[in-house]
Symmetry: C2
Subunit: 202 residues, 2 copies
DNA sequence: TTATATACCACACATTTGTGTGGTATGTCA
DNA sequence: TGACATACCACACAAATGTGTGGTATATAA
């Protein structure tokens, strides 16, 4: 199960094909894989699938057509390359040095359930020193284990929501803006969720 | 084809089920749809599919199992609710006032092709005043129509990449950091792409 | 009344698809 | 040499799945 080990070139090619097809919305049949790979026997494809299952990259359901699922680590659709780390301070990285790939979905939400997640569009500048600007989308995970120093969405007494950093001083929690022009909030509040992602589109 | 018109409640339910299954990676068979809907005949399901195809919401390939595709406008997986606008300045919005939904994929990349897009992880603090922090993922669209004031990924003479704001002064382009501690860059450079999205995970 | 449309069911049939058994050829290890 | 693994092929069979024809019941319009 955990023996991901090395994949042979052909095993990799099979996996890539499965990924592509799953990404397109229609997993391949055994014969379709065989055709893609140039195999003339369904048995051969099954051997490859067995190997991929063995290595924990793929799951299957029996007696169901196209029922091929990418296992945890292999579910990488919507891949975009990460071409290294850009240095926003002093440039220091060569171009086109692809470090790997990220799954767009993964990058966005990770493997959270979508049920506990919602998004808010940020208005105002009270979190500007934390790099959160007006217009950004703040993705919040509900009922989380929010801790001191986390940025949280909080419900205030007047039934309004605000995004602030959760702080505690001498045992008491309060909300702190990331902007010196805004005073801390000491009134009653309830933490709705914790900020897990910020997305900004230009 | 364009007669989306209204869907009957059952047609909507069928469409929802297809969406769900496609989102899960395995489109349903005709019989699976029938079972979900309580239909006892495959013919009934085919009538419904025909209606959905007629209305331009679904596409199919013949003689292929599970070959149901969501047409353009219907492909909305990964929906997360937007519960209004959060005010990071002064709280002013009621909780649970769902404004609508966004498609996670859409939020992330919009409807761009993935081919011209890549990501960089930001290092350093030269763009901090633009709300771009160390560790953020910068999504770049290649060979774009970069204009003055756009934030761009630029290739410098020494073959290194940097993220800066593109500026022009008296007809000449240069790169400007968003941090007073960094001087503008006047040396030779080539714009690789334009910053379209910033993602930060906490 | 007839005609037409909607909303289903029954069921036979063809095709697609998955399963299972067994085979050949090649190479490696002992 | 024998034992074993890898990498394939052939092919029969069963199960899943899509297709096609025709039926019933209900409502609506002409």
């Amino acid at each position: 199960m955990e023996d991901k080990g090395y994949l042979t070139p052909k095993q990799e090619k099979v996996l890539r094909f499965i990924r592509k097809r799953v990404g397109e919305g229609l997993p391949p049949t055994i014969r379709e894989i065989g055709q893609e790979m140039g195999f003339k026997s369904t048995g051969t494809v099954r051997d490859y699938l067995k190997a991929l299952i063995q290595k924990g990259l793929v799951k299957r359901m029996n007696n169901k057509s196209r029922a091929i699922e990418l296992a945890e680590g292999a579910a990488v659709f919507n891949k975009i390359p990460i071409i290294g780390t850009i240095n926003a301070g002093k440039p220091n990285l060569a171009y086109e040095e692809i470090q790997g790939y990220v799954d767009a979905d993964d990058l966005f939400l990770g493997r959270l359930g979508f049920n506990d997640v919602f998004a808010l569009r940020v208005k105002g500048d009270s979190m500007i020193d934390a790099g959160i600007l007006e217009g950004d989308v703040a993705v919040i995970k509900k009922r989380p284990d929010a801790q001191n120093n986390d940025i949280v969405a909080a419900l205030l007494d007047n039934n309004e929501v605000t995004l602030k950093r959760l702080r505690s001083k001498s045992g008491r929690f309060y909300l702190e803006a990331a902007n010196v022009n805004y005073p801390p909030i000491f009134e009653e509040f309830k933490v709705i969720g914790r900020l897990i992602t910020v997305i900004r589109k230009y």
